[in-house]
């Protein structure tokens, strides 16, 4: 698996570290309800197919990336910087 980093180009999987579902970038407000926080911290869609997720190019430019990837085939569909 190679991820096409927008800053560094296509790089090997070994250079990246994985955080999880891209929704982790959308933290609820500090005063959000307990239910919202439970959803954010613990619940996942966990789809079989396209999945938006957060990777960091930890052994490269250290940019955080929002990657769309097919969890069944491991095909990378798109890569963009988180901000």
């Amino acid at each position: 698996m190679r991820i096409n980093c927008p800053l560094c180009g296509a790089r090997d999987l070994r250079e990246f570290s994985y955080l999880g579902d891209a929704r982790l970038a959308d933290r609820p407000a500090a005063d959000a309800s307990a239910q919202d926080w439970q959803d954010y911290v613990y619940l996942r869609d966990n789809p079989a197919g396209p999945h938006a997720e957060l990777w960091q190019h930890a052994q490269g430019c250290r940019a955080w990336l929002r990657v769309r990837r097919n969890t069944v085939t491991h095909e990378i569909l798109s890569v963009e910087r988180t901000r």
């Binding site: 999987l13 570290s17 613990y42 997720e53 491991h74």
Partner: protein, 416 residues
């Protein structure tokens, strides 16, 4: 049909022409008291114990592919009861006792081999942690012996005792741990359940739930609609997908875990040995192959195969622990889909949909739990009450904060 040494001998003389299929291949009926979704280890044990312990025999096990074709056929066959936390400790202790009586119970050779599990320690901190864990295991009534470096050398002299980076300080030996023949476990319970009259229905994928006013009434399948009093899910890596059909969103991510086996070798590894400075564990199958594995691939995956970096890491950790591994040829590797829960512990509980039950989140520890999982899930399905040894495997513990985070790594499924 019972099995015996005499029968094996007799069939040998007859050219093995007298063996019959050991379970029926029934068509689904219109209604069952209980439907179990998933014909893997946990689904089959659940059906067996529903019939055996609770007298509920109007039961169907629905399997999308073939019986035992999922994770029960794709694991590293390790059986142990070396957990620390109350909640896990008593459950796996119960499971190990069921493993010890399984062959007599089922009249089926599951090749249960209790040759011990040795966890290596490489630092003073790890030795202290193992002393604590060992004490907890003994308090639970299971066995544990804390070995010093010489004790480890006596047990497994082939390990890398010269390593400067990962010196072996000692280890925790769990003598009743070991391995079992994974497929035979599925087949043995399938045969047992079938003998009680449970319908094992293969090539039957569940495509939806019939839910009326918050109560599940049955399932839609590729072989027609089936109504049921209660429905239990036991689908491992597919837990999120099946639950989503009932409108549930779960604290589960699916990840790929790889395992590997070498060419057949003469007996060399006593029981199971695990590395303490990287995720690596090895045992030797009865056929002689070294069976080993390590970490997850770390990212969500439904591909029943892994990638090279995880494979590379397993080999490196293996070489660091037992350098002679480098002389063996790798024969094959495979991947399974793990239903990784958010605290690394399983869920056996009711769901917000009435009469729909969940058994999942086994992470990569589902095999050793197989008999107790079925035992406790059957208890829940039959009585609507959690079994005492599985009472902390609740679905709402993520809401209430009663987490069972054995590894202490927080809500990061790929770190458990």
């Amino acid at each position: 049909m019972g099995y015996s040494g005499f029968k094996v001998f007799l069939e040998g003389l007859r050219g093995n022409t007298g063996w019959k299929p050991v379970w029926r291949d029934p068509a689904p009926k219109a209604h069952y008291d209980v439907i179990i979704i998933g014909g893997g280890g946990h689904g089959l044990t659940t059906a067996y114990y529903l019939a055996k312990n609770h007298g509920i025999t109007n039961v169907a096990v629905l399997e999308r592919g073939y019986l035992g074709g999922g994770n029960v056929g794709r694991n590293t066959t390790i059986v142990r009861a070396n957990y620390l936390l109350p909640g896990n400790s008593e459950f796996y202790s119960h499971s190990l006792k069921l493993w010890e009586g399984m062959e007599q119970e089922l009249n089926y050779n599951t090749m249960m081999s209790q040759r011990g599990i040795l966890n290596l320690a490489h630092s003073d901190g790890q030795m202290d942690a193992f002393a604590r864990r060992g004490n907890q295991m003994r308090l639970q009534g299971d066995d544990a012996v804390l070995l010093d470096a010489q004790g480890v050398r006596d047990h497994a002299s082939f390990l890398n005792f010269d390593s400067q980076r990962f010196p072996i300080r000692g280890g925790l030996l769990h003598g009743r741990g070991g391995t079992a023949r994974h497929d035979a476990v599925a087949w043995g319970y399938a045969r047992g359940a079938d003998q009680f009259g449970v319908d094992l229905i293969q090539n039957c994928e569940v495509t939806g739930f019939k839910i009326e006013a918050g109560v599940v009434k049955g399932v839609e399948t590729t072989r027609g609609s089936i109504s049921a009093g209660k429905v239990g899910m036991a689908v491992a890596g597919r837990t999120s997908q099946v639950a989503a059909m009932a409108g549930l969103r779960l604290p589960v991510e699916s990840h790929a875990l790889q395992a590997f086996v070498s060419e057949g070798l003469k007996p060399v590894v006593p029981g199971v040995v695990t590395f303490g400075m990287g995720h690596f564990y090895v045992s030797q199958s009865d056929k002689g192959g070294l069976v080993f594995g390590g970490d997850l691939d770390f990212y969500n995956s439904y591909a029943a195969r892994g990638n090279m970096p995880a494979m590379e890491h397993v080999m490196e950790a293996g070489m660091a622990m037992m350098p002679m591994l480098g002389n063996a040829k790798l024969l094959r590797g495979w991947g399974g889909i793990m239903d990784m829960s958010m605290d690394g512990s399983p869920i056996i509980d009711r769901t917000p949909v009435q009469n729909l039950y969940l058994n999942g989140g086994w992470c990569y520890g589902g095999f050793k739990a197989t008999p107790a999982s079925g035992w406790c899930y059957a208890h829940l399905l039959a009585t609507d009450q959690p079994h005492p040894v599985a009472s902390r495997f609740t679905l709402n513990r993520f809401e209430t904060g009663q987490l069972l985070d054995e590894e202490g790594t927080g809500p990061r499924p790929n770190r458990h």
